[in-house]
């Protein structure tokens, strides 16, 4: 199904919000794992979901809530560690979870979200709901046991789950070629008896199209799909990680930055459809919104020590020896 004009502009807006949000982080608060280069993959996939569909994500977590349409002020405040943050400053850069947008956890344990998304699929099926659950994970996560275990359970129970691999080519510094016996991740689906598809992750509309097909399949009770989106991370694994070796060539990075930037590519598509006025309006709006988010985050208060215990258990209890605050 083709995106209509408003949806195209919404997709571009979400991609650009991820980019500008992270560029603001580089300028003001250089922490975390950036999604720059992967915006088309993330926003394209999220555009195929409804607001009430569930999403799990990864340590590279900024893009997922923004891609799903979350308000960026609480996200920015979270990365600044503030009490107005979406997780009250207790989660931070690797855990930007906005449950109001259907996110149920961004796991910084690689592969940790796969069972959670599968469980959300089970919940949907038991409750007889028509939601779906989409699991973002990286190429590295496919080498965790949770990948095979989770996909297998979703396959045998025909759960409404979309396993969405953001294959950016590298698990920190180790390439897919050096860490996978068979580097086409989508082909692993065959081992579990489910469909596997591969898509150009730098083409946001192509990502949307394959994801929507998997979502429709899941929603109609036909079970899970594995999607491999081939994408690229422009920056290093983490802003805070010094990488002492050249594990990917400068030419490769420059090629992606110059020729395969998903935002430039999609902007050109929109301009070719005579949407320049809308594109430039969106660019101005996104820049303003990000500036406002940074200001909001800077001016927000720090969390309180009591927040730690308030967020630990649903019903307040005083476990042995640890309710007291450190002196």
């Amino acid at each position: 199904m083709q995106l209509d004009r408003d949806q195209q502009l919404k997709l571009f807006t979400r991609m650009l919000r991820i980019r500008k949000f992270e560029e603001a982080l580089i300028a003001h608060n250089p922490v975390g794992h950036l999604s720059i280069g992967q915006e088309g993959t993330i926003a394209g996939a999220c555009m195929a979901l409804r607001d009430d569909d569930f999403v799990t994500g990864t340590h590279r977590s900024h893009g997922h809530p923004i891609g799903k349409g979350a308000d960026i002020n609480p996200l920015m405040a979270e990365i600044f560690g503030k009490r107005t943050g979406i997780c009250k400053g207790l989660g931070g850069s690797m855990h930007l979870t906005d449950t109001s947008m259907g996110l149920i956890g961004e796991s910084a344990i690689v592969g940790g979200g796969l069972p959670l998304a599968t469980g959300a699929g089970l919940s949907i099926q038991v409750r007889g709901a028509d939601q779906v659950s989409l699991c973002f994970f990286g190429d590295g996560a496919t080498n965790q046991g949770t990948f095979g275990e989770s996909v297998n359970m979703a396959a045998i129970w025909k759960l409404p789950v979309i396993y969405f691999c953001e294959n950016n080519g590298y698990a920190v510094t180790t390439s897919v070629e050096k860490s996978h016996g068979q580097p086409d991740i989508y082909r692993r689906a065959d081992g579990y008896g489910i469909p596997g598809v591969v898509v150009d992750g730098q083409d946001a509309e192509a990502v949307h199209a394959v994801t929507l097909e998997a979502v429709n399949r899941a929603r109609s009770g036909e079970g899970p799909t594995l999607i491999e989106a081939k994408t690229y991370r422009f920056d290093e694994h983490s802003n805070r990680l010094a990488i002492p070796i050249e594990y990917r060539s400068k030419e490769e990075v420059e090629h992606y930055r110059n020729e395969r930037d998903p935002i430039t590519l999609y902007r050109n598509v929109l301009l070719s459809r005579d949407l320049r006025v809308d594109v430039e309006r969106i660019e101005e709006q996104v820049n303003n919104a990000v500036d406002e988010a940074v200001e909001f985050a800077k001016q927000s208060p720090e969390p309180e020590m009591s927040d730690l215990w308030d967020c630990l258990f649903s019903n307040p209890i005083a476990p042995a020896g640890d309710k007291g605050l450190p002196e």
């Binding site: 796991s107 940790g112 469980g119 959300a120 089970l122 659950s133 308030d310």
Partner: protein, 324 residues
């Protein structure tokens, strides 16, 4: 006074009945685990179908994680992790996800999950099936940890665990599985999480017992009575949150404390109780605290050796006579 209805159930039957009652009461309650259709939940299949009763593949970490994901999104799963030594396989999903998700999301999420698991010791299963890993989870913030010692408490605590909005690890002691008693039917039998039980009142020594140590602690108390020593026996029932008040009040009365705990001695539940009493009630103590625990060695296959590792009437008596 109207006599509430009861039925005679073993500890294991009481667990099945708790599940049946909670599944009838709340359609969000589901049960999942390996081979549950054959072991543990057969009779539930007469009443509920495979939508809510899920036989899982041998994928401990992920099926516990599936339970977590279902708990985050509207269900109240009971995950049967069969044997406590398998908890290590699932420890990532229990510790890094279930225990932390509410905290890490600033309390946006809740995790109403129960993980049932049995401590399979004293049964010649050797070192990879016989662990009692209460301390591992006691040391994890965000988890509630239960270890009932009779059928009534097993049923009542499991029902409370299903209704709790936080993740609960429910340890079943297989040495108690067959023990029968009259157990309340329905909600009369709810047992609150976080309350220890004074099983026997006494004034000379406090014996705190955890899970399957209880029959031995009670036998020891009977033997001590013949020697004119009046022992107070406390069944801890809930490890986290720990009922410190009941223990400290008892020690204030008796002045001495013996703790029977079948976890390994180093960093055991007994160690935590000893530390709490030392910190908060040192002036009540007349004698050093004694811990009756499994020594810091693995469980052997040999039945002759295995039984010597765990709490017995004799070991508890020896500990009491050292200080009384």
């Amino acid at each position: 006074m109207i006599r509430n209805s009861t039925q005679k159930l073993s500890y294991l039957q009481a667990i099945v009945e708790a599940q049946r009652e909670e599944m009838r009461r709340d359609e969000r309650v589901i049960l999942m685990g390996e081979d549950i259709a054959v072991y543990g939940a057969q009779s539930l299949f007469d009443e509920f179908d495979e939508t809510r009763l899920r036989n899982t593949p041998i994928s401990e970490n992920s099926f516990v994680g599936v339970g977590v994901g279902a708990a985050l999104t509207g269900l109240r799963p009971i995950v049967d992790l069969t044997i406590a030594s398998f908890c290590y396989l699932a420890s990532d999903q229990i510790i890094n996800q279930a225990a932390k998700l509410r905290f890490m999301t600033g309390a946006q999420l809740k995790v109403p999950l129960v993980v049932r698991t049995s401590t399979f010791y004293n049964n010649r299963t050797a070192a990879q099936h016989a662990d009692r890993p209460y301390p591992l989870f006691m040391n994890t913030p965000g988890l509630k940890v239960l270890a009932p010692a009779n059928a009534t408490d097993a049923k009542g605590l499991l029902k409370s665990a299903v209704r709790d909005d936080d993740p609960v690890i429910f340890f079943e002691d297989i040495n108690l599985w067959g023990k029968k008693e009259e157990v309340p039917v329905g909600d009369d039998g709810l047992i609150p999480i976080g309350k220890a039980s004074i099983v026997r009142e006494g004034s000379d020594v406090t014996i705190v017992s955890i899970a399957g140590c209880l029959p031995h602690a009670k036998s020891a108390a009977v033997a001590l009575e013949k020697d004119g020593i009046n022992a107070e026996v406390i069944d801890l029932r809930t490890i986290v949150p720990m009922d410190k008040e009941t223990i400290i009040s008892s020690v204030a009365k008796t002045g001495s404390l013996v703790i029977a705990d079948n976890s390994h001695k180093v960093g055991s539940v007994a160690s935590e109780i000893a530390a709490v009493v030392s910190e908060e009630a040192f002036e009540s103590l007349c004698k050093p605290i004694q811990r009756v625990c499994a020594p810091q060695v693995h469980v052997p296959y040999s039945a002759a050796l295995e039984k010597k590792l765990f709490a017995s009437k004799e070991r508890i008596l020896n500990a009491v006579y050292k200080i009384v």
